[in-house]
């Protein structure tokens, strides 16, 4: 049994390697995934298999202000879907994409844990609770002005 453990320990886990890369770059650049695959002793395809399996890993560069819209149950019941629709039409991008100017990226998250402030979203590091769709243009403007 001990040999099994040493074997596993001698080759670093691809998940841990990819997490380190994402922490450094904010996403997984192609070359880095290839490097991680080599380090973990697996093929690049296998590394991408792991990277695309987990929601946490981003394959494209996020915007300067990533927007995360909560799609938890409480937010859904309180109209979170409408927020996402409005953001999609305001930004012209789909979840998982980044605006051409690189300012915003859009994604949905399972639960921000701010259920009492639903519907909720996070722009950059700022949490917005009880958001209404009509506030969205104003919120986005704040960040466009900051640039």
């Amino acid at each position: 049994m001990a040999t099994v453990v040493t074997q596993v320990k001698s080759k670093p886990s691809i998940i841990v390697l990819l997490q380190e890369v994402q922490e450094r770059y904010g996403y997984l650049p192609r070359e880095e995934v290839a490097r991680c695959a080599q380090e973990a002793g697996i093929s690049v395809a296998q590394a991408y298999g792991v990277a695309s399996f987990y929601n946490f890993f981003k394959l494209s560069k996020p915007g300067k202000y990533p927007i995360r819209v909560c799609s938890g149950t409480a937010c859904h019941v309180q109209g979170g879907q409408a927020l996402l629709e409005r953001l999609r039409s305001e930004l012209g991008i789909e979840p998982g994409e980044t605006t051409p100017d690189g300012l915003f990226s859009l994604e949905t998250v399972a639960c921000l844990g701010a259920c009492s402030m639903s519907p909720a979203m996070v722009v950059g590091n700022d949490v917005y609770g009880r958001v209404t769709t009509r506030e969205i243009p104003r919120i986005l403007m704040k960040y466009r002005r900051k640039r």
């Binding site: 998940i15 792991v50 409480a74 039409s89 399972a110 259920c115 009492s116 639903s118």
Partner: protein, 652 residues
């Protein structure tokens, strides 16, 4: 094993503080408190205290669970009881400092009550009677009746008085990063007792007698699980804490990890002693950065104190814990998928048996429990299995933590004895429905659970009653819905979630859920004119039979339970499904394609926002005057509804 073991060195336990020597401000700064603005409140407090050159401390504590009153700030002045205030914002934080710290007058409109656990006057302060201790000048708010001279107790608060807190006892009260404070509140007494007075078998006996069942949702008896792992041959053995809380609408585990991380470490250490493990892992979501941070610090501190690592408390027993950061895959809550992920692979479940107790991480015997399960262990060991078994119902013992949210007046994190009815939770603890609307359903157990209607409100929360009613205990998400919630839409919401989270390994789950989702899409959209009402009604039968096939043939818990939201809503809200399918109407006004849109002329300001947004040119009018929607041209996309700033667009 025990014969060779030394008697444990006593843990240096600081005495329980009766009072403080300098003022303390304790700010609820869990993720939810931070979202409500805890950092801003802390900044204001720092500024105010610095301006006064006050010798006072500001501490960050976890979440007490009263979300409605976030940001919560406890103020503890020397020779005064500790008082909880909320909701505190940047503005009234100044007033709190001015009125209470400067003038000694309690701002009554901000006061929630004397902090639970700090009610009785400490013996050291003799000379102060209980009456005197709980009396203070209280300044009522502008519209309030004069407050009684005696301070209210927070445990009598309507949201608190029905609760019984074991797991959450320290949450919001102690500094989660201070092991000394955990020890001060009785921490590690369970581990001490286990190491000094009990053999591993006796620990397992206590847990078995307690009747504790897995709090992750499935409800497997914890004592039995431990016994299997103890008996399993092979070494090393592992202990894993499943903190991969992925249910949308659930934040119980996060709050415990953020508010009282040492409790979880202690529970795991006791489990390791009981089954004979020397290494543990906590599998925690990367989406919980604060919980990860707290755990990392807690593990380091526990090592420094000799409560983790080699030769714990000088007994010869060694155990250490490493963090494994999950990367966001709901299926990793399933134990065999979690094991795959801990080993660094894609989190794909495998058939059981063999169970993890025989073959788990790296092929070795492994015990996996959830955060809340481990958090119950210290108290069970200290106070005995019998004590724990005296709480709850015949087959469900102890308490359960719930994350109460949705259309309820007071959402929050609560802990109640098993057997409490859903009605008590929603209407007593939750204060009823927001805006006094009609209760429609409560969703329990997230994507694996079901919706219970008003007729099931008297169902007690215990594992078996909930299953009989069509829901599950689940990990503790409880989302309340009112008459504006469409049950078909809720079912579709959960299917969309499980459809995306399916690992894709087995066909019933991968293809079946996608097909089931499409069927729900079909009945929530306008019918194909070639289909008769009878054809559409028959869709319900198709939905039901497909849901059963997925339930009966999927490989793991994710697929087997994914149809539950559909089956339970079909069981209790069949009429609503029929109204969608046959009449093409959504009574709750949620399914945008089934609604008819119009503009209320009384509210229309003629701003033309809707006309500009309309992709089909269905909205006409003149700027400054009233606009109209032509229903013949309308695509029912609901964009006009969302862009209107005056609420003039109506959808029925």
């Amino acid at each position: 094993m025990l014969e060779t073991m030394q008697r444990a060195m006593p843990v240096l336990r600081p005495p329980r503080r009766a009072t403080v020597t300098r003022p303390e401000f304790l700010v609820g700064a869990g993720t939810c408190g931070l979202a409500a603005g805890a950092d801003k409140v802390i900044a204001v407090l720092e500024e105010e205290l610095a301006a006064r050159h006050a010798n006072a401390a500001i501490k960050r504590v976890g979440c007490m669970g009263l979300c409605k009153w976030e940001v919560m700030v406890d103020v503890w002045l020397p020779r005064r009881p500790r008082l909880s205030f909320g909701p505190i914002n940047e503005k009234n934080a100044k007033r709190l400092v001015h009125e209470y710290l400067d003038n000694g007058t309690v701002p009554g409109d901000l006061l929630l009550g004397v902090t639970p656990g700090f009610e009785t006057p400490p013996a050291e302060l003799s000379g102060i009677s209980e009456d005197e201790w709980l009396t203070a000048p209280v300044q009522p708010g502008p519209d309030e009746l004069p407050a009684p001279a005696r301070l209210p107790l927070l445990r009598d608060h309507p949201m608190m008085r029905r609760q019984l807190r074991i797991v959450l006892r320290n949450c919001g009260l102690i500094d989660p990063e201070s092991l000394d404070e955990y020890l001060e509140h009785g921490g590690y007494a369970g581990l001490e007792r286990a190491l000094n007075q009990l053999t591993p078998e006796q620990v397992i006996d206590e847990v078995t007698v307690s009747g504790l069942r897995g709090r992750g949702g499935a409800g497997f008896p914890t004592g039995k699980k431990w016994a299997l792992a103890r008996q399993a041959k092979g070494s090393p053995k592992y202990v894993i804490c499943n903190a991969d809380e992925g249910d949308p609408g659930a934040f119980m585990d996060r709050s415990v990890l953020e508010g009282d991380p040492f409790r979880v470490l202690e529970g795991m250490t006791i489990a390791a002693y009981a089954i004979g493990a020397s290494q543990g892992f906590i599998y925690v979501r990367a989406e919980y950065p604060l919980a990860v941070e707290r755990l990392r610090k807690a593990i380091e501190t526990a090592r420094e104190y000799g409560l983790l690592g080699e030769n714990i408390l000088g007994t010869g027993f060694s155990f250490d814990i490493d963090l494994k950061i999950g990367a966001g895959a709901f299926v990793c809550g399933e134990e065999t998928a979690l094991i795959a992920s801990v080993e660094g692979r894609r989190g794909m479940p495998r058939p059981r048996p063999p169970y993890p107790a025989e073959r788990g991480v790296f092929g070795c015997p492994t015990n996996i429990n959830n955060v809340e399960t481990y958090a119950n262990i210290p108290d069970i060991v200290v106070r005995g299995g019998r004590w724990f078994a005296s709480i709850g119902t015949e087959k469900s013992k102890g308490t359960k933590v719930f994350a109460l949210s949705g259309k309820v007046r007071w959402s929050g994190l609560i802990e109640v004895p098993m057997g409490t009815t859903i009605r008590d939770i929603v209407f007593e603890i939750g204060g009823g429905i927001e805006g006094d609307r009609q209760f429609k359903a409560v969703q329990m157990g997230g994507p694996s659970g079901g919706c219970l209607p008003a007729s099931q409100l008297d169902t007690p929360v215990d594992y078996d009653s909930l299953v009989a009613a069509g829901a599950i205990m689940g990990s503790g998400g409880m989302v309340v819905m009112d008459d504006t919630t469409c049950m078909v839409d809720v079912a579709r919401f959960f299917l969309n979630f499980t459809r995306e989270e399916s690992c894709g390994q087995c066909t019933p789950c991968r293809e079946g859920i996608a097909r089931l989702y499409n069927l729900l899409e079909e009945i929530t959209h306008r019918p194909n004119p070639q289909k008769s009402g009878g054809d559409r009604a028959a869709l319900l039968g198709e939905i039901e039979s497909l849901a059963r096939v997925i339930r009966d043939t999927s490989l793991c818990g994710l697929g087997q339970t994914a149809p539950s939201p559909v089956l339970s809503t079909l069981r209790y809200f069949r009429d609503e499904y029929l109204t969608h399918a046959v009449d093409a109407r959504c009574p709750a006004g949620r399914c945008s394609d089934l609604l008819t849109y119009s503009i209320d002329e009384a509210l229309c300001q003629g701003c033309a926002q809707c006309a500009r947004a309309c992709p089909s040119g269905a909205i006409t009018g003149e700027k400054g005057k009233k606009y109209q929607i032509n229903p013949e041209v309308c695509l029912r996309c609901a964009l006009c509804l969302r862009v209107c700033n005056f609420g003039a667009v109506k959808a029925v």
